[in-house]
């Protein structure tokens, strides 16, 4: 009997075997039970969303499906057939493709090389590369996924890197495509573009699983949505039968505030004044092309922009981590050495600048150090932390850490745990506690809530606002437009090393900012 | 029982220590006696080994190598009833026999042979490490070469500065090649295990080589011109034979005493012409008679013939 399947019509589900069916999947990482007896059906030709707090086990589940991890127990059925997926090769053979939350690309390979890796055509590269080049072209045309096949991954923007990941999956002719938090790093325009692509894929009969934290996106593109909480699958519902508030409640298990309360800013004197800041990186690429900006006491200046347009360099140059090629700046009216010849992180701290780095793992924390050692990090010269010129006062640091942990509700409240063993949100709280409690004149803060779940975001945002209300200047960089809107008193948009324009949050829209972020000044063509 | 202590090179170093070992074995074979032999592994053991042997009643105790001198100086007075013999070193103590060889004299003789065998008037010398002992070989050799042929050139090289210098036949071979390219057609090796590579390369390149310490003529029959033999074996044999009554004091094993010399056997008979034999015998006689004074590098730390 042949059944004609119409994409999106779940009423056919009883007749057609689902594209994916997981039964009783469990997985533990040591003491952490990441997945507990998970059951889920994903119908053919649908877009199926999965949501859940950080650490709920979404990525783990998908990685099991893709053969990256092996489940401790449970069964996987693909198109109704019980299938053993012990490694990614088996998953690829079963027609599954996955775009990981953390991309699995070889940074110093070209796009083409990354695409064919593992799916080469014979032992020699030339023919494979030629074939791939052709195929890539047609895929790019079919799905609006154009990327320069010869560009090196490390030179691509995150958005383009993601396209490469999708191309990798399509190149392996995947029928089932898993995307793990694909929009976290994209501009609204890019995200819209991605969704168009996904809809296109769906219309070609492909099945798509989409993991995201953004309820708006779930509502916009998915047919079904599953909710995970603490390793368990708590619900699967047709999207049209639910609402964002319902979903948020299902996710967290309580009601959440989706918006921060804040009063209007009362800006005071100018704290930071930057003129003509230029930065050229190791490779000779000009990353900042003349930045002028000021931040005043008691206000938050939000810098919006797609990742990779110079925001990181701006923060690092101001924090003394990289040296500027030209430009000048003052802090509280005193000149700031931007060349790094007479200054470094230590000098900046002494000048009243605190810095919450974008990448807490790479810069903000020493993962192998205990929480209390991390609390002294960067402030290890503080007399309060030292007995004398030689010895540190560990007891004092410990005491201070305990106080900070308490105030910032870091969990678990154990200063002896290594930074690594805290969850992402709690790691971020630790960094914030360290920097905010210094009561700096200027706080540089990058991606304050990256990879942090809703509950913690709420708290972190409150802390930032509180610091502003205490009359401090804050320079905020974030790729999350929601966050920019929620916190900023003024918004500057960066594109290609320049500031494209400045807007008031109340007098602009996501759409307008999106255009600026894409390099368009907003004037009609 | 007597005891024999080898230096760090180990008893199978194909030259100096191995010669001592041969002397011990010969004594054991001829007398049916037994002896104890041990190899050093570290500097700190020298004292340990000496004391342990003395305390366990070994007598006499023979050791090879100048490196023992300093330690023996300290240890010997503590064991007045034991006699010690040190080869290649001088220790001034009641119960120590110091045996030294006049390597420069032996080297002079092979130098004469080298100069006469050379058709290019260029001969080579490969030393293991630039240390005084090896300089003494080098200087005697150079003097002998110059004596036989005033126009001859001696090319001198040393292998290295780390212990690997004594165990690097590959570099030994390359240095030999370098000397050959400078015209050398006879090469004298005083470089332990490195010498294996020197002799090999010389044989491959069809030039002559000269062995050292033991008779190495048989390593490449017909291609090793001769070997400068240093009769360490005799020194050990004598000491062992003398037993507990071994006389102490300084023993200079020179040419006259048969302590050093050049090797002639069926392997190199055809290489040494009558004329060469005459010349070297004459030189030998003159040295013994005192008519030729072979310069000892150790006497002034310099070599006028290089």
């Amino acid at each position: 009997m042949t059944v004609e399947t119409k994409p999106g019509r779940h009423s056919d589900a009883a007749l057609t075997p689902p594209a994916i069916e997981l039964r009783g999947i469990s997985k533990a990482f040591g003491p952490v039970q990441a997945n507990k007896d998970i059951n889920i059906r994903v119908e053919k030709g649908t877009i199926h969303g999965i949501i859940g707090e950080n650490g709920a086990g979404k990525s783990t589940l998908m990685s099991i499906l893709y053969g990256f991890y092996r489940a401790d127990s449970g069964e996987i059925r693909i198109n109704g057939e019980p299938t053993t997926i012990n490694d990614s090769l088996a998953a690829i053979r079963a027609g599954i493709g996955m775009v990981f939350q953390h991309f699995k690309l070889v940074e110093n390979f070209s796009v083409l090389e990354n695409v064919i890796l593992g799916a080469e055509d014979g032992g020699f590269l030339k023919p494979s590369l030629n074939k791939a080049r052709g195929l890539l072209k047609s895929l790019a045309a079919d799905f609006e996924l154009s990327v320069d096949p010869d560009a090196l991954i490390e030179n691509l923007s995150v958005g383009h890197q993601q396209r490469v990941e999708i191309l990798k999956a399509l190149y392996r002719s995947a029928d089932i495509l898993i995307l793990d938090e694909p929009t976290g790093v994209l501009t609204p325009a890019e995200a819209d573009h991605l969704f168009r692509i996904l809809k296109g894929l769906k219309s070609q009969g492909k099945t798509i699983i989409l993991i995201t934290h953004k309820l708006r996106e779930i509502m916009e593109v998915t047919d079904f949505v599953s909710v995970m909480r603490r390793g368990e699958m708590v619900a699967t519902v047709p999207t049209k039968d639910t609402s964002p508030t319902d979903l948020a409640e299902l996710m967290v298990g309580r009601k959440v505030l989706l918006r921060v309360d804040k009063t209007a800013a009362t800006p005071g004197r100018t704290v930071l004044d930057v003129q003509g800041l230029r930065v050229v990186d190791d490779k000779g690429v000009e990353r900042l092309r003349g930045i002028d900006l000021t931040v005043r006491a008691g206000e938050i200046l939000g810098i919006a922009g797609v990742a990779g347009n110079g925001q990181s360099e701006l923060l690092e140059a101001l924090a003394g981590l990289i040296s500027a090629t030209s430009g000048s700046a003052t802090i509280n009216g005193n000149p700031l050495d931007l060349t790094g010849r007479t200054s470094d992180g230590q000098t900046r701290r002494a000048e009243g600048i605190a810095h919450v780095p974008e990448d807490r793992h790479r810069r903000g924390l020493i993962l192998d150090f205990s929480a209390w050692e991390n609390v002294a990090f960067g402030y290890h010269n503080d007399p309060a932390y030292n007995r004398n010129a030689l010895l540190m006062d560990n007891a004092a640091i410990l005491r201070d850490t305990e106080a900070k942990i308490k105030r910032f509700d870091v969990r678990p409240p154990n200063p002896w745990l290594t930074a690594e063993s805290f969850s992402g949100g709690n790691q971020q709280k630790l960094v914030l506690a360290r920097e905010i409690e210094r009561n700096p004149d200027l706080l540089l803060i990058g991606q304050p809530t990256r990879g942090v779940d809703i509950g913690a975001i709420e708290f972190i945002h409150q802390q930032i606002i509180a610091l502003r209300d205490a009359g401090k200047a804050i320079l905020l960089v974030s790729v999350e437009l929601d966050e920019i809107f929620a916190l900023s008193d003024r918004i500057a948009v960066m594109f290609d090393g320049r500031i494209m324009g400045e807007r008031q949050p109340d007098h602009t829209t996501e759409r307008e900012l999106g255009l600026l972020m894409a390099g368009m000044t907003g004037e009609p063509e | 029982d007597p005891a024999l202590i080898f230096d760090l090179g180990g008893k199978f170093d194909k030259s100096f220590n191995e010669a001592a070992f041969a002397g011990g074995e010969r004594w054991a074979e001829e007398t049916g006696g037994t002896y104890r032999d041990i190899e050093m592994q570290s500097e700190a053991q020298r004292e340990q080994a000496l004391r342990r042997l003395a305390e366990s009643g070994s007598n006499p105790i023979v050791m090879t190598g100048f490196a023992f001198a300093s330690v023996l100086e300290q240890v010997a007075p503590d064991y007045p009833d034991t006699t010690f013999a040190i080869i290649d070193g001088v220790v001034d103590a009641e119960n120590v026999r110091s045996v030294v060889f006049t390597e420069h004299e032996g080297s002079y003789l092979v130098g004469v042979l080298a100069a006469m065998a050379s058709e290019t008037d260029t001969v080579g010398f490969v030393g293991g490490m630039d240390i005084p002992l090896i300089r003494r070989f080098a200087c005697g050799y150079a003097q002998g070469v110059k004596a036989a042929n005033a126009d001859a050139t001696v090319v001198m090289n040393y292998t290295g500065t780390t212990p690997a210098a004594w165990n690097d036949p590959v570099r030994g071979g390359e240095i030999t090649q370098a000397q050959i390219s400078q015209g050398a057609d006879v090469v004298y090796a005083a470089a332990g295990g490195t010498g294996v590579g020197v002799l090999q390369t010389a044989a491959d390149a069809d030039i002559f080589s000269i062995g050292v310490d033991s008779n190495q003529n048989a390593m490449h029959p017909g291609q090793v011109l001769t070997s400068m033999v240093k009769r360490v074996d005799n020194a050990v044999f004598d000491a062992f034979s003398a037993g507990v009554d071994m006389e102490t004091g300084l023993y200079v094993m020179d040419l006259a005493a048969g302590g050093v010399g050049w090797a002639l056997d069926e392997n190199n008979e055809s290489l040494v012409s009558a004329e060469m034999r005459e010349a070297v015998d004459a030189a030998s006689a003159a040295i013994i008679a005192g008519d030729i004074a072979v310069h000892d590098y150790m006497s002034d730390g310099a070599c006028p013939y290089e």
Binding site: T347, F377, N394 | E43, A44, Q48, R52, G89, S299, G301
Partner: protein
């Protein structure tokens, strides 16, 4: 194949123990293969190294060397610098000791020790700081430069001993004997004070106490001082260290100075304490053993201490074996290799085996 978590006590006690046993079992097989009796060999090693105060004296003497070089490697490793130059730094340290002992008039051994230790540390530190500087400033890979500096040190020493320090007329490329006053107290003299009889004829000397003090000092440095904090932070993440305002240049050079100084200090044990003169190749590979010691000791001073003792035992036990039996001395090198392999590189294999036997750690226990 995930490495199973096992209880902490098993990780600390059982894993090294089982690893050692495995290493010795295989060593026994090697001994059988060359036609010797492994049981007799074991007895001889143990009694030779630990069976008498005499054996202990040698074991501790070697261990002292390894503590210094092991600490040197460990300190550098804490800053993620792989210092393979211990050999050269200890060589130069020997030169420092010799110059201090020979050319300065010391009134008492204690002052001489102070002076010699300073000389040793200074020379060793200098020899390590150049590669450190080149790495930090010019990006020259420290592994290459320290290897090269080992060779250069050997050449320097060779030149100095043959042409400068050798007494006129001496055959031995070694310095003159140091003046009597610079002779360090031997272990038996120290122990006599507290009434413990100890063999008089071993080279173990007061340097042992200095090495122990160095272990404590390094621990103190790394985990109690601000400098140590910065060193460890730099070692874990250069990018983070830069964020914290820790200068990579400064830390690299300072760490290499400390590391080289520690390597150099080894010379107070072997050159001043034992030989009382400087000889060619006085270091005898202790610089390389230091790498193994540091790695096995997990770059922790206490681990270094234990590993140094283990290697001291292997050295002395092995020496006894080679001295008094027909077993070749290279057997010891093989045993050392197996010990390094099993305790240092195959530890996870042992861990997994243990997990199978005693079961994994209870939830939350790891």
């Amino acid at each position: 194949m995930a490495v199973k978590r096992i209880p902490d006590w098993a990780d600390v006690v059982l894993v090294p123990l089982v690893s050692l046993i495995l290493a010795f079992v295989i060593s026994a097989l090697v001994i059988v293969a060359i036609g010797e009796d492994p049981w007799a060999a074991t007895q001889m090693m143990v009694s030779g190294a630990l069976g008498s105060t005499y054996g202990w004296g040698y074991t501790l003497y070697y261990a002292t060397n390894f503590m210094f070089t092991g600490l040197a490697v460990a300190v550098a490793f804490q800053a993620k610098l792989f210092n393979i130059g211990g050999e050269g730094q200890a060589t130069l340290g020997g030169l420092g000791v010799a110059l201090a002992c020979l050319y300065l008039p010391w009134p008492h051994w204690s002052l001489a020790l102070l002076g010699a230790a300073l000389g040793a540390a200074a020379f060793g530190a200098l020899w390590a700081a150049i590669p450190g500087y080149l790495q930090a400033k010019r990006g020259s890979h420290i592994v290459i430069t320290t290897i090269m500096f080992n060779f250069i040190a050997a050449a320097v020493l060779n030149y100095v001993l043959v042409n400068q320090l050798r007494p006129q007329g001496s055959m031995d490329p070694a310095s003159a004997r140091f003046p009597e006053v610079t002779q360090l107290p031997r272990l038996h003299e120290i122990l006599e004070v507290v009434g413990i009889p100890f063999s008089r004829s071993t080279p173990a000397n007061i340097s042992l106490l200095i090495a122990l003090a160095a272990c404590v000092a390094v621990w103190f440095l790394l985990w109690r001082t601000r400098l140590g904090y910065q060193i460890r932070a730099f070692g874990h993440s250069e990018a983070a260290a830069q964020y914290a305002g820790i200068s990579p240049l400064r830390i690299t050079i300072v760490v290499m100075l400390i590391s080289g100084g520690l390597s150099g200090m080894m010379a107070i044990n072997n050159v001043m304490g034992e030989a009382q003169r400087l000889v060619l190749n006085a270091v005898e590979g202790a610089g390389f053993i230091g790498i193994a010691v540091a790695l096995m000791g997990r770059n922790h001073p206490f681990g270094v201490f234990l590993a140094a003792l283990l290697f001291g035992f292997l050295y002395q036990g092995g020496a006894e074996l080679a001295l008094w039996t027909s077993i070749p001395r290279e057997l010891i090198v093989v045993i050392q290799a197996l010990v390094i392999l099993f305790t240092g590189a195959l530890d996870n294999m042992v861990r997994m085996g243990i997990a199978k036997v005693i079961g994994p750690a209870k939830q939350g226990g790891a």
